[in-house]
């Protein structure tokens, strides 16, 4: 298949990995590179890329799984809406997230109306087809997802659809990167920057952060050749004592990103301080509906109140998300916690670090 075969070419991957290993040999010490995006985590696992590098490369996973970084207080809003009898429209990876012994999948089994959608447009269509019902969309995701929801909110207003509301739990990637690089215990040597998010926001939002913390960073595609090449580029910067943002994913990411999508986000949402699982509260790292769209805010309209829930005993999801622990450090991993009986959110989503490790059979 065009654009797939050539980026999965085993020979090419090996050649680039060898050059990366040379650089690793020259550096000598342990090098810690974080992949920020969950799809990278999954790709690294799925293609078995870890085994291609010298032992002094440590690939750690960051906060790149939307479901994983959503705090319990956020989930509680979605569960409340469902239990109030609203029809909840959500992406599939939310269904099995454990929360206080419940999950949306279990609630659906009990008869609550919870529907898996593949696009927020499906939710809009349902709301129009069933005007007697009140629909609530669980808005979870990064810069890649929020523009879609913004366009739905605008469309709702245009079509005068009043039975579709949003719980906005959207998060922004650059503030989270800033928080991670600031942390004194992590010592991240390089960043594999997310391909999809960068398609929206472009290169600029990373520049200040990279300058501030002097960390090499490369915007990266999702195929084996992309990932191995970007690791090589980061290592080269390290050897040459450089720190800049490079773009490996030029076939998709433009320097200015996607201005139309950015405008959509800015039109409907405003940045607010937001809590992240594992990272705590980060200034201006979340998106809330602007005041003029308050009518579409499920939290306001239905008086939803965030409830705190304690993390399950022994669950290390918080530390796994910030890269300070690995799934294999967790006593629950593979023993009690598995994809069809997840204890923490990182085992649920296909982008979760624990699920990626599990599927790759890491023990």
């Amino acid at each position: 298949m065009k654009f797939l075969e050539e980026y999965r070419d085993g020979e090419l991957v090996k050649r680039i990995a060898n050059r990366a290993n040379e650089l690793l040999g020259r550096i000598g010490r342990e090098v810690k590179i974080m992949e920020v995006c969950g799809t990278h985590t999954m790709a690294i696992a799925r293609h078995g890329l870890r085994g291609l590098f010298r032992k002094n490369l440590d690939l750690i996973s960051g906060p790149g799984c939307p479901v994983c970084v959503t705090p319990n207080s956020g989930f509680s809003l979605v569960f409340q809406a469902a239990e109030m009898g609203k029809t909840v429209a959500t992406f599939g990876d939310m269904m099995r997230v454990p929360f206080n012994g419940k999950s949306l999948s279990k609630l659906r089994g009990e008869g609550f109306d919870i529907r898996v959608v593949y696009s927020p447009y499906d939710a809009l269509k349902m709301a129009e087809d069933e005007p007697e019902k009140e629909f609530v969309m669980a808005g979870i995701g990064f810069e890649t997802t929020s523009p879609l929801f913004a366009s739905i909110i605008l469309e709702c207003r245009r079509r005068r659809v009043s039975n579709l509301k949003l719980i906005s739990l959207f998060r922004l990637i650059p503030p989270a990167l800033d928080a991670l690089l600031k942390a004194e215990d992590l010592h991240i040597d390089g960043l594999i920057l997310p391909g999809h998010v960068s398609t929206i926001i472009g290169v600029k939002p990373y520049v200040d952060i990279v300058e501030k913390y002097k960390v090499p960073a490369v915007i990266t595609g999702f195929e084996p050749v992309d990932i191995v090449e970007s690791i090589r580029m980061i290592l080269k910067q390290l050897v040459e004592k450089k720190s800049m943002v490079e773009n490996e994913y030029v076939r998709t990411v433009r320097p200015q990103g996607n201005p139309k999508a950015i405008r959509l986000i800015q039109e409907v949402f405003k940045p607010v301080d937001a809590e992240w699982r594992g990272l705590g509260e980060i200034a201006e790292s979340g998106l809330a509906l602007k005041d003029e769209f308050k009518d579409f805010d499920a939290v306001e309209e239905y008086g939803l109140k965030p409830v705190e829930a304690s993390e399950p005993a022994g669950c290390l999801c918080g530390q796994v998300i910030r890269g300070s622990k690995k799934p294999t450090d967790c006593k629950l991993y593979r023993r009690a916690c598995m994809p069809d009986n997840p204890i923490g959110p990182c085992m649920v989503s296909s982008e979760g670090t624990c699920a990626a490790y599990y599927y790759a059979g890491v023990e």
Binding site: M1, G10, C37, G51, D122, P339
Partner: protein
């Protein structure tokens, strides 16, 4: 643990296997966890199996629920080493269903049974009120004679066996997902649904021995290989590059972020045969239309207490290929 049944219990993955284990406790089955029966009778070994078919939507490209309900049970018998002979047919229909639609499904059952050379000898129809079921559910049971001298279980894969698949994988699963239209993706993918008795016949006739036979239906190739690995206590290694996947199926999977190894097939067999017979098996099976794309995808590398499956990726890495867990969920980001 789940107090209530969730959809994942039927998805072909680990939860379903646990549930089958529980159900099989009430079966007069020789082994725990086995849901089909081999009956020792005076005239020989008789294989007996039953399966219920629900399909959403009931018609997809290359397959409908009528055809599937015949081939599904026929192929179940085939994996037991049997020559399928007789089937029962039981229909549960929802009030309000179009008569033409029902006739079309019945005609499809007739044609499929003709093609599979089985006779439908008993049947039943029930109609439930609207909402009582989703359009049409079909149950078929089947019996067949086990070929003499054929080891009719999936328990016996041995180190040194070659792993052979009789054609491209994931076609049926992709055709069903595409027909649901939930993704608004147009994919020109046709189901591989077909009876496999000719494949078994050819193996028996040409004296190709095998240690395990399995049809990778729900949960796909990955789940089937894990079943064999676990029950035979062996370690299996396959090569991504060697696994036949149609380009349109691969493209479909890429867009959805799922792997073709987890999509079901309804017209493929996975055969474990001693390495010395592997080339012969391929040669023999390629002469049949239904298995013309047969190829070797890997081997059983060693004994292993817990049973494991590994895949050598195209990019040169080696990783585990576990059983399907839950229902493949599309991603958010």
């Amino acid at each position: 643990m789940y107090d209530k049944i969730v959809l994942e219990h039927g998805a072909g993955g680990r939860l379903m296997h646990e549930l089958i284990q529980t159900i099989s406790n009430v079966l007069e089955s020789p082994r725990r966890g086995v849901d089909k029966a081999i009956l020792n009778t005076k005239i020989g070994k008789i294989a007996f199996t039953t399966d219920s078919f629900v399909m959403k939507p009931p018609v997809v490209k290359g397959c409908d629920i009528g055809m599937l309900s015949v081939n599904g049970t026929v192929n179940d018998l085939v994996t037991m080493g049997a020559k399928p002979e007789y089937l029962s047919l039981s229909l549960i229909m929802e009030e309000g269903l179009e008569r033409d639609f029902v006739m079309r499904i019945i005609e499809s059952v007739r044609r499929a049974s003709e093609k599979a050379r089985v006779k439908i000898v008993t049947g039943d129809i029930k109609v439930v009120e609207k909402g009582g079921c989703d359009k049409i559910f079909i149950n078929t049971s089947g019996i067949g004679m086990v070929y003499r001298g054929v080891e009719s279980s999936t328990l016996n894969a041995k180190p040194g066996d070659a792993v052979i698949v009789t054609g491209s994988i994931g076609d049926h699963g992709a055709a069903v997902l595409a027909a649901r239209g939930e993704f608004q993706l147009e994919a020109d993918v046709s189901s591989d649904c077909a009876p496999l008795n000719s494949v078994l016949e050819a193996l028996v006739k040409k004296r190709v021995p095998f240690h395990a036979l399995i049809d990778p239906t729900r949960g796909g190739l990955a789940t089937s290989l894990n079943e064999v690995a676990e029950s035979s206590r062996v370690s299996i290694e396959i090569e991504e590059e060697a696994i036949p996947v149609k380009e349109e199926v691969l493209g479909f999977c890429e867009v959805l972020g799922i792997e073709p190894f987890y999509l079901g097939c309804e017209g493929r067999l996975v055969i474990f045969t001693p390495q010395a017979y592997a080339d012969k098996a391929v040669r023999v099976l390629r002469t049949l239309e239904v298995s013309k794309d047969t190829c070797i995808i890997g081997s059983v590398v060693s004994r292993s207490k817990k049973g494991e499956v590994r895949i050598k990726t195209r990019a040169g890495g080696l990783r585990a290929l576990p059983m399907l867990q839950g229902i493949p969920l599309p991603r958010i980001c």
